[in-house]
């Protein structure tokens, strides 16, 4: 069945693209975190110690892999 998408529907389903300024801002945030992690890795040789396993046989969300 043919379904004509309205402008509102298109807006709702597709987020506004990132502007150049937003890409730059978000890239800076990501790179700053990465730089902190690599500096820590260089200094200590590790980023942490293995702690409590939080995965269970019944996760709070199960991926619903049927396309929506």
């Amino acid at each position: 069945m043919y379904l004509k998408l309205t402008k509102d529907k298109l807006t709702r389903q597709s987020p506004r693209p990132l502007s150049a300024q937003e890409i730059s801002r978000n890239q800076s945030i990501h790179e700053a975190l990465r730089a902190e992690l690599t500096a820590e890795l260089k200094q200590k040789g590790t980023l942490g110690r293995e702690g409590r396993l939080i995965t269970t046989s019944s996760p709070r969300l199960k991926a619903r892999l049927v396309r929506t």
Binding site: S14, P15, R16, P17, L18, S19, E22, I23, R25, N26, Q27, I29, H30, L33, R34, E36, L37, T38, A39, E40, L41, K42, K44, G45, T46, L47, G48, R49, E50, G51, R52, L53, I54, T55, P59, R60, L61, K62, A63, R64, L65, T68
Partner: protein, 161 residues
């Protein structure tokens, strides 16, 4: 595909997690899930939330391929960087049963009321949008699409708010 999520605390960050993905046949990868809080987050969302909430109850989340971090800093690790060739279903499983589990756990541990992410690629942003629309209400989280539309941060208000 087997996914394990565990705490991976460090002195610098007690709220760090490790997501281990094993697809079998030697295809495996580890990801660091990093949560960041504090006053540094205030400028990003101060039009929407109080300074107190942003400083004390907000976390920014990002994730990194651990092997790529080893490669960048030149620290030897005796594994080869593996292209995991995720299918669409496997990628969704990775985000929902890996990254999202780390988010749920850190929210329970910290009582965080806001968790947000700052994707730097349109493809990643579109993917976050699709997953948040599909799953947020299942766990009584609110996906603030208005904030995404205005400033392109992907904000979840958690069930602790």
């Amino acid at each position: 595909m087997d996914i394990k999520v565990r705490e991976y605390p460090a002195d610098t960050n007690p709220f760090r997690y490790l997501v281990e993905v094993d697809k079998g046949n030697g295809l495996r990868a580890d990801y660091i899930v990093e949560f960041k809080g504090g006053t540094g987050l205030v400028p990003y969302l101060d039009c929407y939330y109080t300074e107190a909430e942003l400083t004390e109850h907000t976390l920014m989340v990002d994730f990194f391929d651990l092997q790529a971090l080893y490669d960048i800093c030149g620290v030897q690790k005796f594994e080869q960087l593996t292209d995991m060739h995720y299918t669409t279903d496997e990628l969704e499983k990775f985000f929902i049963e890996g990254i999202a589990e780390a988010i749920f756990d850190v929210v329970e541990r910290t009582g965080a009321t806001i968790v947000f992410s700052a994707p730097f690629k349109d493809s990643l942003a579109r993917y976050y949008h699709r997953l948040l629309k599909k799953y947020a209400t299942d766990v009584n989280y609110v996906y603030r699409e208005d904030i995404r539309e205005e400033v392109n941060f992907y904000v979840l208000e958690t069930d602790k708010r």
